[in-house]
Structure formats: C-alpha cells, structure tokens
Symmetry: C2
C-alpha cells in the first residue's frame, strides 16, 4: 500500500466519511479503522503467524467476542484491512506529462516502502498472502483496483498525444504494472533495495517500451 493509504482511509473514504456510519455486519467506520490499525501494527510486529485476535482486541479496544462475531478470525481481519485500504480516494499523479506521471507514481512506491512508518505494515500484508489464501485474494483485489485507477494516466497520455492511440488498442494495465514490477521485484524478491536510480530506470524502460508500441494489444 502506498504511504498515503493509511491516512487517506482514516475516516475520509466515500464509505467511511462519517465515523460511526453503520456498515453491513454492524461494523462502524470508527471501529473498522481502529481494528485496521491494530491489524497492521500486529502484522508489522509479529507477522501473520504471530497475529492473533487477542492482539487485535487489545490494541483496538474492540472486544474479542465482537471481533470473532463481526469478522470471524485473523484471515478476515487482514482481508478487511485491505478492503478498507482500497476504499480511499487515492488518485494517480497528474503532472501534465506521461513521463512526469510515471516518475511520480514510481516515487510514491519508493517512498511508501522505504519510509519506516509505512514500510513494515505494507510489507507485512504482502508477506501474509503467502500463508493465507484469503489474504492473497484480498491483495489481488486491492492491486487490481489500484492499477485500474492508474489507467487514468494512460487515458490522459493518449488524449494529449503523448502516446499513439487509439486508447482501446493499448494494454494500459500492463503498462502501469511494467513500471511498478521492477520496484517490487527489487524490494521483495531479489531483496536488493530500492533507490531513485532504480525508479528512474523503471520510468526510462517503461516509456521506451510504450513509445515503441510494446503495450499494443495482441502485438
């Protein structure tokens, strides 16, 4: 999750605008946010295998039996945390050029995973998807929705003439993923770390491929 998510979702999202608003299952926005914070802290501190409903109860102030009744268990708590993160109002950068937008997006990824305040919980959610199929599903839905929002960058680039159209011939999802993939790859697979040099290289490579027509569908 980008750094912005956590703050943006703390009661500001469309569905969580007024703390106390009732949601299906009787969860209020305020309760959900408190539970979300406890889940992220617990994941960052103890990982998936060490996260318990007891821990979430203690750190959220929500009673254990309420957590069991309204969520069900640890897997559902993690999934709801990701659902909640996906309900924010985040929009992709809009700098006026394709290159600027891609650079700003890559920089957001860099910051969110290198800032100690957000890196641990974000990494912990990715880690939780290995042992938990339910967390993996929630992560898949989270990123699918995130990258769908990022396609606005491509819409604007085609409108502007920054990329040859027609827009429908372009695999915009593949283009925005091509930018993000090498960053996550260095962070979580090869474990080489991430610097501005790497984000700049991802921008250069993605732009060059896009301008050479590599993201044309069926091409």
């Amino acid at each position: 999750m980008p750094a912005e998510d956590k703050n943006a979702t703390a009661g500001q999202g469309a569905d969580t605008a007024r703390p106390g608003t009732r949601r299906p299952g009787g969860r209020t926005a305020r309760t959900r946010a408190a539970v979300r914070d406890a889940v992220l802290t617990g994941l960052a501190e103890h990982g998936y295998s060490g996260l318990t409903v007891e821990y979430v109860a203690e750190h959220s102030g929500v009673h254990k039996t309420t957590l069991y009744r309204r969520w069900g268990g640890v897997e559902e708590l993690i999934a709801d945390t990701l659902d909640l993160a996906g309900e924010d109002r985040w929009t992709p950068p809009d700098t006026g050029s394709l290159e600027g937008d891609l650079r700003a997006l890559a920089t957001e990824v860099l910051r969110s995973f290198t800032d100690p305040a957000t890196a641990s919980p974000s990494s912990a959610v990715i880690a939780a998807a290995f042992p938990s199929e339910r967390a993996a599903e929630a992560l898949r839905a989270y990123y699918a929705e995130r990258f769908a929002r990022c396609e606005a960058i491509i819409d604007r680039a085609v409108d502007r003439g920054d990329l040859p159209g027609p827009r429908t011939a372009l695999d915009a999802g593949a283009l925005v993923r091509a930018l993000a993939a090498p960053l996550f790859f260095r962070l979580f697979i090869t474990r080489e770390g991430l610097t501005e040099h790497d984000t700049e290289q991802a921008v250069t490579v993605t732009l060059a491929a896009a301008r050479a027509g590599a993201f044309r569908k069926g091409g």
Copy 2:
C-alpha cells in the same frame, strides 16, 4: 529457484561432485543435500514460522544435535539451502537469438513457479525472507549470482549484433531483471497468476526497451 536447481544441485555441482566430499564444518555433500531437501519440504508444508530443527532432523535423518552444531539453527539451515542451490551448474538458455533466449528464460520462470513439484518450496524460500533477515541475505546473494550468469545472454546478443554495443555501455543486469520482474510481480505481489501471455508480453516489452536503448548506462 528454477525447477532445474533442485535436481542439478543433488550432488552434481562443482563443490558437491562426489557425495561424501568433506566441506568446512564437516558437512558432507550427501548430508547437505538431505538437509536441503528436508528444509524445502518443511518450508513448503509449514512455512518459516512452522519450520523447526526437529522437523529437519526427522526428515533428513541427520541428528538434531548435529544440525545445531554444524548449522546453528533454522535461519542458517535456510541460508545454506539457498547457498547450495546457487552452487549448481545452471546456465541461461542459448537459443541463437536474444528474443529466443529471453523467451526461454521467461518460460523457465513460468514453469518453475507453476509446476507443483517446485512451486511450493521456491515460494516458501521467498516467503521466509520476510521474517528472516538471514534468509533475505541468502536470497539476495542467490539472485545476484543467478542474474550475473544471465548476463551471458547480453554478451552474446552484442557479439551477434542483436543489440547495439559496446557491451560495457549496457546495464545487462537491469535488462535481465526487467524480463523477470513482471513475472514475479504477478506471482507474489499482485497475485494475479502467470500465463504464457504474460511471459510473451515481458519478452516484447524488454526487447522493445532494449532496442530503444533504455538499458544504456547513465542514459
């Protein structure tokens, strides 16, 4: 780890040619391979948090006290498993063209992470790097060495005239990582799964960027 690793390292590597060869710390190649198999099985079955020295002892036939004395603990057992995987004789594909080599390499990644026999232990090692800094270090070393071998693909492409030289001006490491990154990204971050369509797209994008000069150093 590619599918080939496990078999290739079972006593065939340069350092492990003769089962029984003595290694520093008194580990023999045969013992190391048995321990490696038990570690991978244990990781795949129980994950990092569930892997114990007792499990490895039981499944490798090596006594627990021997494991503690020669390795130290679970983290060192995982690290040695990765070290051993890195000692094989794997070489990158050599098909006669840059496009063919990249395609064959992407296909190897696809197979190793979708074949049930190899997918679980390989994923489990990546998962173990989240909670264990020692496993993360070993994973970093493993992939650094792996991608260094892959640079032979770029050497040959320049020699052949498939890529404009000089070779020293190219960031070959970035090129081979650009091919692999979107595959691992789909598998372990966005959790979208991986098909031949995706490997083909990775080849197209990487080739287009390479031919447009996006992997020139300082470019």
